[in-house]
Structures are given as structure tokens and as C-alpha cells.
Symmetry: C2
Subunit: 403 residues, 2 copies
């Protein structure tokens, strides 16, 4: 840190004082600590609190966000205000400088213990594309699609932190000859999604109205819902996907707190079907102007816009709990594949290559229907702030051959 | 305990020395402890180990099974052998007697922290019945049904211990007039199931062959997968059930260790479709002769036989992990509704009343299509032992009106 400016923001300002995402990090061989990212550095937040505000230091003693998540927005705001003040006011520099570590000197792990994981299906273009491919001859959108945000539970235990290698799954599927086959998936895909991290839990029987969204949701992160399309297509009727998705789901190491996205809030699109009262947007709705990009081996293959998603995250949460299902700190729910109207805005290879029939041509001249071993996928996103843009922490993963 | 025989087994012998299920219990206001059930008493196992085998006492220090689950079959066997020896040999009576508490003096909670929860659909009769009702005009069994055990992830965070009241969920569904409706479910149902509790976890990328089932599965319990059929029917295509199931799932307070069911092992039924090698039964297969019974307000309404399930629990586990999905201690997977060929052997009201069109007549003269507020459901099961029968811990719940 010697010689760098204060605060140590990155040149593009994407991880500046208006962002300050949280993670769990450690130096080689060291203890895990709750980290706040500023530029290309991470502040050991627990240590900072021990020095500057010891009354709250215990919130970070497990080296993950678990305790902080469980507290609620008043504490979330206080912690964020402290971090922001300390990093912006030069008087704290002597205390904080030894607690700031370059990101490339750190390991990261999942920032919190995941409770349940629900994956939605909230982009109309994605649902339409998938319907056309998976259920040809039927209406592309299922009849319930515009009446409720469709979702399903995914496997919480196989959510992995960004950067984790993704082993190509084996499974059974119908081969091109219609015969049952077993082996490594030949249609390994990505799904570029936005995930929401539940902070405060609820009691069984309680519902979370749309307007109460920020009382319960701590933050936002990018998610890649890796999918074995051949396995998924064969297994998924009538109870939904299981093994086609459960082998791994990648989540960013950095969770951007919800208040950092205040300037990204927009009205959701006009809906063409009436919605039941419990799903109607609050006065100040939760459309979010996040601009995603998907890179495959470095090549930009898609720029999915989160703005325009039919269902907002606040509606997803209201729906998920309208039956009284309880929430736990660390529950994750994700948007489903983010796909905009343009073909260069689709968030999966299934869509981008139209089920492999129209391969992508990469910079090195090679073609891709689905992922090959060794391929690396990186999903990034930015959002407007009051006077610039911020970035969500990227989510990346490289495909390993089947074991 | 004064005056009772030793060991203090129940009159019917259903919770004798060959059973010894585990739970987590506490006396009013006291600490939670790991309990072993014998007859109508529970032994404070941690306290027993502190007196008699302190080297292992730390396994029980969290008052739940979490630490024990994570160890593996060698430790599971040692703990069970100790408990069995201490409870059968009168020389230990002076030590153990103060540590034995009548069940009716104890509260129970979930015996372990639930990881992920997967619910299968493994009874051919159940899948056939549901297919006929939910997808009339199509083949009752989906084309994949005999090639793989179909399953989906349920909500782990709303698994509740037996005895917990079940609040009728609200939700959206299509009314009888075809119009979209919202309100308390009018088709609240049960599903009588058998659940398997994973002990040892696995690494990401690892699969569990059928033959390794007892290396990873700690025990067995009864489960009631409460279902709101109206909600489920409307939401479930194409990604499966979510809110129709996620409001509550009840699990027995007592987990019967797998070795207690050694005498209940049988060959599964002959399958009429070839199975891929990873699903083929091991030499000593895991069909289980469990006889369930379902009581509604005391009246016996069904006797579903677990023997005859198309897919064994060992096949479910092999399938669940064939893609490399990892397991965690405390993962739960359940069989799906247990329904035998006879109409009095069906494990849900959906089937027993043929979607409410042929109501059950209860002892008090009242009729039931689906559950009414105040109804109590109790599911029990027994299994053969070498010289008698044992019982799984019951799973019960009473319906509360929508909040």
C-alpha cells in the first residue's frame, strides 16, 4: 500500500467508496477474515472494527458474513457507514493501511454460509427461447409464466466461490440417435444470473411484502448456474431440473450491499397481464439497471441487460414467502438466466447458439456450440451510481474434464 | 425410572435394544442433548459417554447429531455398540438410570442440522396415480421414469420436527371456474414418505456407488411432505413444485440407524426396463420391508408398503451423486409418496380420494377430500427385526388455519 493514494480506489473507480462489497478472504496460511473490497485491495474489516469500533467487532469473528447477515438493515447501514468513513477520511489511514491487502495476495471463499437456494426464471426472452427449443409445438411461455415468478430449489451445498474449477458432470441423457446414453455431458452450458443474498431471517408463517424487500435482502452478486443441457432435458419432466444443475453453481466472492445500487433502481417493464395484489410493485419498485457481460476465453459473447426483467427481485421474494415459507440468513435466490431482446443479449450458450445449431466463432477461430474442456467463462456487471458506475464482483470458472 | 425393568423397553418392544434411534431432546428449560430412545424413555447420550467413555463424549457436545453424522460408519457402530451394551447390562444401571427421562417430560427438536433436501418420486403406483390426475390424456408415467429416479430439491429450511403445527399456506391457483384465485389452499394434502439422513459428506466431483450406500447414510426416518395441490398444480410446469411444498415438511424426531434395519432388507421388485450400470442393484440390495400406516384424526386411512418401491434408497443416492454433486452431513433425501398397488395402500389424500372426487369417510361420520383445519395426521411404520418388529419414530402434525 505504500505510496498509493487514499482511499486506494481502482483507476476505473468501479470499486470505489459507493460500492464496498463484502467477502471472506485470507492471506496464504492465515485466518479467514471478513473483507471489504476497495479498488484492488481488501480491508480486514474485523481488525478495523477491533481498532476503531470494538463494540461491533464480534460481528466479524467467524470470518464470514453470517453474523452480520442475521442482524438487519440498521446494523448493515452502521457497518457500511463506518467502513465508508474510515476509508474516506485520511485520519484513519495509519490504522487501516496495515489492514489493507492487495487482492492478488488473498484467497477468497464463499462470503457466507448458504441456506436454501432458489433459482427463478424471470427473463421473458429467456423463457421464450427455452420454451421454443425444449417444448417445440407448444406455447413458448407456460400459461403460469406471467402470473407468478416461476422458480425451483437448487442445490445449496454445491454453490462454489468464483474461480473454482468446474468438473464436467457425467449423467444420462438421450443421444442424438434417441438412444439412452451415459457419460460426460456433451452440452455443458452457462447461465448468467444475478443473485440476491437474504440477510435477516423470518419465522415460519411470515410473508415478506414487496415493499419490505430491503429489510430482508442484504446484497447482490453475480451467479453462473452451470447447466448440462442434455442431462437436464431428459430428467426435467415433470419435477424440474436436478442433476443437470446440481453439480456446481458459481457465486461471486464479493457481495455488493443493496444500498450501493440505489442509483440503479428503475421501473420494471410494463406487464401485459394483471398481477395479484401480493405481487404488485411497491411505489418505489426494484427494477435494477445492471449491465452484464459474458466472456468466453476472453471473447465478449453477450451483454445481457438486467433491466427489463419481467419479475423484480422484490416480487421473487414476496412470491417465495407468500405461503409462509421461512427465510434464513444466507438464503440465496437468483433471477434465472438474464436474456434481453437482442440476440447478443442472451445469457446462455443454449440460446446464443440456438441449441448448438449455430455455433459461436471465437477470436482464435474456433467454434463453440457448448463448452469445451479448458474453457473459461467470466461474467461481469456494472451499475450506475450517482456520478459514475460500480462493478459487481465477477464470477468466473474454468471447465475441467470429467474425472 | 424407579421400579421399571432393565432395560426399560416398551411393552410392544418396538423401541427395544435392536432399534435405539437418536434424537435431540431437552427437559423444560434445560440444555438440548443427544438422546437415544429406548421404550418410552430417552437416554442423555452425551452424559452417558462423559461417565462411561469420555473419549467420545465430545461427539455429542452440540446437543445434536451433527458431529456424529460427520464421522462415518466406524464411529456410528462404536457409539451404537456402546449404547446397546450399557442399556442391556445391568451393571450400568446405576450410572444410566438418572440419565433416562420419560419421553413425555421432554421436548424434541430436529435431531440434526439439515443440509440439502432432495425429494424423489420412486413409487410406481404413486407416479402412475399422479400422472393420471395431473396429466390426463398423456402416458401416466413420464418417459424417463423407469430410467432414473426422478427427484427435485425441496426447501431444507422449512423441515420441521414431528409435532410442529402446520399452518395452511396461502397461494395462487386456478379455481374450479378456471379463474386465477388467491387464498388459503383448498387442497392441503399429505405425502407419507421415508427419509434417509446422510452422515458422511463427500467432495465435489465424487460419486457414491450403489454398493457404498451404508458408508454414507446414517439413518432412516418418516417424513410428511405436506402439499398444497391447488398451488402445486398451477405452478409446477415446467420447473417443478415450489410453493406447493415449501411451506413445511415434517420429519420424525427420531432417526433409526441404518444397521437397525438389517433384517428388513429385501430384494427390490423386478424392473421391466434395463438400468444403466451405475443404477444396478448391488449384490445385497436395499429394498426395505417397512410397513407404513397413515392415521387421520386417529382413523387408519392407509397402509402403504415401502417394500416394492421401484427405486431403492441406494439407487437414489447413486443417482443424486453421479454428476459429482457433493454431499454434506445432514443432507436428507426422501422416497416420495409411498403408495402400494392396493387402494388402501396409497400415501396421499390426492390418491385416496382421487383428487377429492371420492371423499374418505372418517369414524366420526365426517368426510374428507383434503385436510381441514384442526385435522391431525400421524404416520407410523414398523420393520421386521431378527425376532420381532421395531418402529420408526412417528411423524405427526396438526393443521392450523391460515394466519
Amino acid at each position: 500500500m505504500t505510496g498509493a493514494g487514499w482511499p486506494p480506489v481502482d483507476e476505473a473507480g468501479l470499486f470505489g467508496l459507493d460500492n464496498l462489497p463484502y467477502g471472506s478472504a485470507s492471506r496464504s496460511g492465515g485466518d479467514w477474515f471478513v473483507a471489504v473490497r476497495i479498488g484492488n485491495h481488501a480491508l480486514d474489516l474485523g481488525a478495523a472494527f477491533r481498532h476503531l469500533s470494538p463494540g461491533d467487532a464480534d460481528l466479524f469473528s467467524d470470518g464470514r458474513l453470517d453474523r452480520l447477515l442475521a442482524t438487519g438493515p440498521r446494523t448493515w447501514d452502521r457497518v457500511r457507514a463506518n467502513a465508508s468513513t474510515w476509508l474516506s477520511d485520511g485520519q484513519f489511514r495509519p490504522v487501516l493501511q496495515p489492514l489493507l491487502h492487495p487482492l492478488d495476495s488473498l484467497r477468497t471463499r464463499l462470503a457466507f454460509t448458504v441456506g436454501d437456494y432458489v433459482d427463478f426464471y424471470a427473463a421473458e426472452q429467456h423463457a421464450t427461447n427455452v420454451g421454443q427449443m425444449f417444448r417445440p409445438g407448444q406455447a413458448a411461455l407456460p400459461p403460469n409464466w406471467k402470473h407468478l415468478p416461476i422458480g425451483y430449489h437448487g442445490r445449496a451445498g454445491t454453490i462454489v466461490v468464483s474461480g473454482t474449477g468446474i468438473t464436467r458432470p457425467r449423467g444420462q441423457y438421450r443421444g442424438v440417435d434417441g438412444q439412452l446414453a451415459f457419460g460426460p455431458s456433451t452440452c455443458l452450458d452457462i447461465e448468467a444470473e444475478v443473485a440476491f443474498v437474504v440477510g435477516r431471517g423470518t419465522a415460519l408463517g411470515q410473508s415478506v411484502p414487496v415493499a419490505d424487500f430491503p429489510q430482508y435482502v442484504f446484497g447482490v452478486a453475480l451467479l453462473n448456474d452451470w447447466s448440462a443441457r442434455d442431462v437436464q432435458r431428459w430428467e426435467a419432466a415433470p419435477l424440474g431440473p436436478l442433476l443437470g444443475k446440481s453439480f456446481a453453481t458459481s457465486l461471486s466472492a464479493w457481495i455488493t450491499p443493496l444500498p450501493a445500487l440505489a442509483a440503479a433502481r428503475r421501473r420494471p417493464p410494463v406487464r401485459d397481464e394483471p398481477m395479484l395484489p401480493y405481487l404488485q410493485d411497491a411505489e418505489d419498485p426494484w427494477g435494477l439497471d445492471l449491465q452484464l457481460e459474458v466472456r468466453l476465453n476472453g471473447a465478449l459473447v453477450s451483454r445481457p441487460p438486467f433491466l427489463g426483467m419481467y419479475w423484480s427481485a422484490a416480487q421473487m421474494l414476496a412470491h417465495m414467502t407468500v405461503n409462509g415459507a421461512s427465510l434464513r440468513p444466507g438464503d440465496v435466490f437468483a433471477s434465472g438466466t438474464v436474456s434481453g431482446p437482442g440476440r447478443d443479449q442472451w445469457g446462455s450458450l443454449l440460446e446464443l447458439t440456438w441449441d448448438g445449431t449455430e455455433p459461436l466463432r471465437l477470436d482464435d477461430g474456433s467454434q463453440r456450440g457448448f463448452l469445451q474442456d479448458g474453457d473459461e467463462v467470466v461474467i461481469r456487471a456494472t451499475a450506475p451510481t450517482r456520478d459514475g458506475r460500480l462493478a459487481l464482483g465477477e464470477v468466473s470458472g474454468r471447465v475441467r474434464p470429467a474425472g
